[in-house]
Symmetry: C2
Subunit: 188 residues, 2 copies
């Protein structure tokens, strides 16, 4: 659990008492490659911290698999809407590499907010960061050609290109596999 604590402390320090309260609602789990940690249609009941491995969030658009995001080591993942409002999610969280995770139970966490203001503050900041990132993501796809989006990704997240298969990257960029393959050939 050390990696999680370090990660959280880098965002907002919490008391050691809060730290143990938080750890008491965490559990470790392992997910094998290609399995859905959180399937489509289920209520998301946990936040997940990726100790190692790699996850993605995806959904189906007219039976086509669309990747919404990738989640690497040392990041927190959640289906926010589903977690906050206990409603079924149209999106799944899937491991695309064998992964070791820490699950933080949502309901328990939200209860801790009442007794531990520093935990509430910490997660306020966690989601503020996520919000800022998602606004940046909007900009990166809003008025850009497929080629621009790919070059942007190459620059900002080269590790995505290295570790993830083309079919996932393509829908993440909002284009088809064929189109991405073409762009790649073009750039070389």
């Amino acid at each position: 659990m050390k990696a999680l604590i370090e990660y959280l402390n880098s965002i907002n320090e919490i008391s050691s008492q809060s730290e143990s309260a938080l750890l008491s609602i965490c559990s470790e789990l392992e997910v094998k490659k290609n399995t859905d940690l959180h399937p489509i249609g289920h209520v998301c009941r946990n936040l997940y911290f990726v100790k190692n491995g790699l996850l993605r969030i995806y959904y189906l658009k007219d039976h086509i698999d669309v990747t919404e995001s990738f989640e690497f080591e040392n990041s927190l993942v959640a289906r926010a809407d589903s977690l906050f409002h206990a409603k079924p999610s149209r999106k799944a969280i899937q491991a695309i590499e064998d992964s070791n995770l820490i699950a933080i139970n949502g309901v328990s966490l939200f209860k801790l907010y009442d007794s531990h203001p520093d935990i509430e503050r910490l997660f306020r900041k966690v989601f503020e960061i996520a919000y800022v990132e998602s606004v940046n993501r909007i900009e990166s796809i809003q008025f850009h050609s497929a080629k621009e989006r790919y070059e942007n990704l190459l620059e900002k997240s080269p590790k995505i290109i290295r570790r993830i298969s083309l079919k996932f990257i393509a829908s993440y960029l909002g284009i088809t596999q064929v189109s991405l393959s073409r762009i790649r050939a073009d750039i070389k």
Copy 2:
């Protein structure tokens, strides 16, 4: 200020003591159509509540004006990244109708978080809502054709179509004016 308080209370109730603390850091202002409330390159120092009127956030991409979002009556607007981290924003907030606003000073608000946990909780929820909305926005533009994006907008935000000029809507959807005009002609 009544509208603001009602709006905030609908998200999370706060004590009357917190309410007056909050009001003490607010000020009202009026912005004329076509003027930048917050220009590009400036640090965003306030959150704004739209009492009436209409705002948009925009930025320049290769000298082309791109609308990131529209903000109607009864909503809170901020350039989050700039506000949270006191850094200059590449994006501007502009009035596209004469508007009456309430400004909430950022620095003062963040100070209130320390003394008023209910205010911190309130704004935690404000930004959680904004986060969920922005994830939904990503989905609405990620793997959809221009026509799908426009039809989606027609369905979910008909008021955008009614009150806002085509040129702003086009870049908001990530397409050119000509393309949007064509789609409109097509749908009729």
